[in-house]
Symmetry: C7
Subunit: 74 residues, 7 copies
């Protein structure tokens, strides 16, 4: 059996709702529609949370990969 790779795990989450957290402590929740090897990520129906509080609804959201700490299917 071949070992799972990290991007395979992201690929399984495609089109599902995920949480993406950034180095600046912002949290985005939305549908994962795209990512690449730099972990540049695109969410649809994205919502921004700061300190657990909903701040903005952003629709489509491009997140630069190097600002991301974690991504987790919700």
């Amino acid at each position: 059996m071949e070992a799972l790779r990290p991007l395979d795990a992201l690929n399984k989450a495609r089109n599902s709702k995920v949480i993406v957290e950034l180095k600046n402590n912002k949290r985005y929740v939305g549908k994962l529609v795209a990512f690449d090897i730099h972990i540049n990520t695109v969410l649809d129906d994205a919502e921004e949370y700061v300190d657990g509080e909903l701040k903005r609804k952003l629709g489509t959201l491009f997140i630069r990969g190097d600002t991301i700490t974690i991504i987790s299917p919700q």
Copy 2:
């Protein structure tokens, strides 16, 4: 069906109004006219916002990719 890539999403936003936010918490709003694989980005009719307040009108604006956290079509 081929999976969407992050830069495809940016490409769809070309010539539309986008919000670009930086690691230093500045926010720029303008028409997305160019970007590259480093996410170096050029806006036209760019406006700078700090803490939600309009600070400057900048016309054409080149933003170095590694300072960007998110880009979102407005």
Copy 3:
């Protein structure tokens, strides 16, 4: 005898419970299911600890490699 490489050590921990600590001082504990040469890492049954206190249960968790400081089998 060939010298051990760092990723060999991670590979031995695959499918075991590990602690992953980040530059932002968050600590994740879970089963190591995937990693790559950038140390992008995927945990299953991940729990988040802040200051030693359990904050969240996250299920599957993708961690961007460049935010990681240490990984240790528990």
Copy 4:
């Protein structure tokens, strides 16, 4: 029609007066005479501003690209 690239936009500003802002919040104003793919940039007749106040006249100024946040034709 081919899509504009970010460095094309900088190229249009060559020999014009530009504002260059750095991650350390310093702002330089001068004539853009050179740049490269790392956004290493050279200004002529450069002036340094801190908090909007003119601090120094520097003549020729080499700015390392990775310290730059934005460049805008004035």
Copy 5:
């Protein structure tokens, strides 16, 4: 005589007790069992010190290279 390279010096310390210090001011002491060109490093019987005080015994420890400032045989 050929000039010594930095990784040769690390190689001499293999299987010996070393101190590894991180950018976050944590200090790990343990047996150096593996390292690579990124200075990703693995210690055995690792102990964590904060402000000179022993905090944890960690057994096997993978340290991401880019968080390391110094490594010194003890």
Copy 6:
């Protein structure tokens, strides 16, 4: 006429007195004797200034490129 490149501008300053400023706000003044594409730089007869005050005379000084913000012929 071929466009000037940033390193051409540094090359013109070779063997002249330059100011080099770092991300940690230290300023070095000395004769520019060497630089490379990473902007690793060597000064001769280097003097260190902190907050505008002369702190040390250092003779030959190697400065790692990624710590540099600006270089300007004095």
Copy 7:
């Protein structure tokens, strides 16, 4: 006459006493025995200084290049 390169200057300092300063403001003094293109550096008979005060004698010391700001022959 060929232009001097920064690593040539370091090479001249090989086997001599040098000062190495880090981004975290620590200063190491010792005999330069090895360095590479990343400026990973090895000192022998290394002493650590913090705020100008001798803190530790470390013997052989490997310093990761990206933490270094300056190197100067003493």
